[in-house]
């Protein structure tokens, strides 16, 4: 039974629950908008990293390089799309 619950994944799960609780603090604790957004940005991206490395085994095959390239490329496109839209249409430049 024990071998079915590897320490790495159990730790990963508790860590992701912890990150969720920290993120929830922005709702339950009074803080400024800047502090809250900083907390959310950090917890969200760390959480995504935990999923990618611990659960999705992104780095284990010999296609590791191709896999990380396609993920980073996707994330790059995502950030440009989101922040580019905000910059040109909301924040002004």
């Amino acid at each position: 039974m024990r071998e079915l619950f590897p320490a790495k994944q159990v730790m990963g799960y508790f860590f992701s629950l912890l990150l969720t609780v920290i993120a929830l603090a922005v709702y339950f604790v009074d803080m400024s908008y800047q502090v809250a957004m900083t907390i959310l940005l950090v917890t969200a991206f760390v959480q995504a990293g935990v999923q990618l490395v611990v659960f999705m085994h992104a780095g284990e095959s010999k296609d590791k390089w191709s896999i990380y390239t396609t993920v980073y490329y996707g994330v790059f496109i995502a950030l440009v799309t989101i922040f580019g839209s905000l910059l040109t249409l909301i924040w002004g430049y």
């Binding site: 590897p6 993120a23 095959s61």
Partner: protein, 198 residues
């Protein structure tokens, strides 16, 4: 078909390895898809017209339940893949079943949440905010729903065919899809719900 026994089953043939790489490339495209939906949501968030705004409709209870269900399902499918690598067929199937039940719970809570929004006068046609919100949440929810059907067929194949290089490969790819949906949810949880409630 050349089977390499030094690798886990899901990587054991050339075809399997390429299937997994191909699925990662698909996920790269999915990241771009969800990015466009997030971008339109952030642009339209303040366009509430005469309808309710984000802070008025979001509820912390359903949000916490949904997040807990999806995070846990991501954990259990990870355990499923781990059991698969140990060659434990029954344990694999059980972990996959638990995963799908948690996913079903998630979709159930999401549907309940949508009916609450509609009761409060927030429908797809209410405002720019509501249409962007429903499109983003709906696309994610539709992916989870699709995953429930996909996962059920995978479980069926695991039961009838056992752990073969083929079924192990399919199960592993399904686990990648499921973890990806959890990652998307983390961003919805942080930058749609929590950001809207502070």
């Amino acid at each position: 078909m050349k089977v390499d026994h030094s690798q886990p089953l899901e990587y054991s043939t050339e075809q399997n390895r390429l299937n997994i790489l191909g699925f990662w490339i698909f996920l790269g495209a999915e990241i771009a898809l969800f990015a466009t939906l997030f971008a339109s949501y952030f642009l339209l968030r303040n366009g509430t017209g005469s309808g309710p705004s984000d802070g008025e409709v979001f509820v912390i209870d359903t949000l916490m339940i949904q997040t807990f269900l999806l995070l846990t399902s991501s954990f259990t499918i990870g355990l499923g893949v781990h059991a698969m690598r140990l060659g434990r067929k029954t344990a694999t199937i059980n972990f996959f079943i638990v995963t799908l039940l948690l996913g079903l719970g998630f979709v159930g809570v999401e549907i309940y949440e949508f009916t609450q929004y509609i009761d409060e006068g927030l429908t797809l046609q209410t405002s720019g905010f509501s249409s962007a919100l429903f499109t983003l949440l709906g696309t994610h929810g539709a992916h989870v729903t699709f995953g429930l059907f996909w996962g059920s067929f995978i479980i069926y194949q695991l039961i009838t065919r056992g752990l073969t290089p083929e079924t192990a490969n399919k199960s592993f790819i399904f686990s990648l899809y499921w973890h990806f949906l959890d990652v998307v949810w983390i961003f919805i949880f942080s930058f749609v719900y929590l950001k809207g409630m502070i």
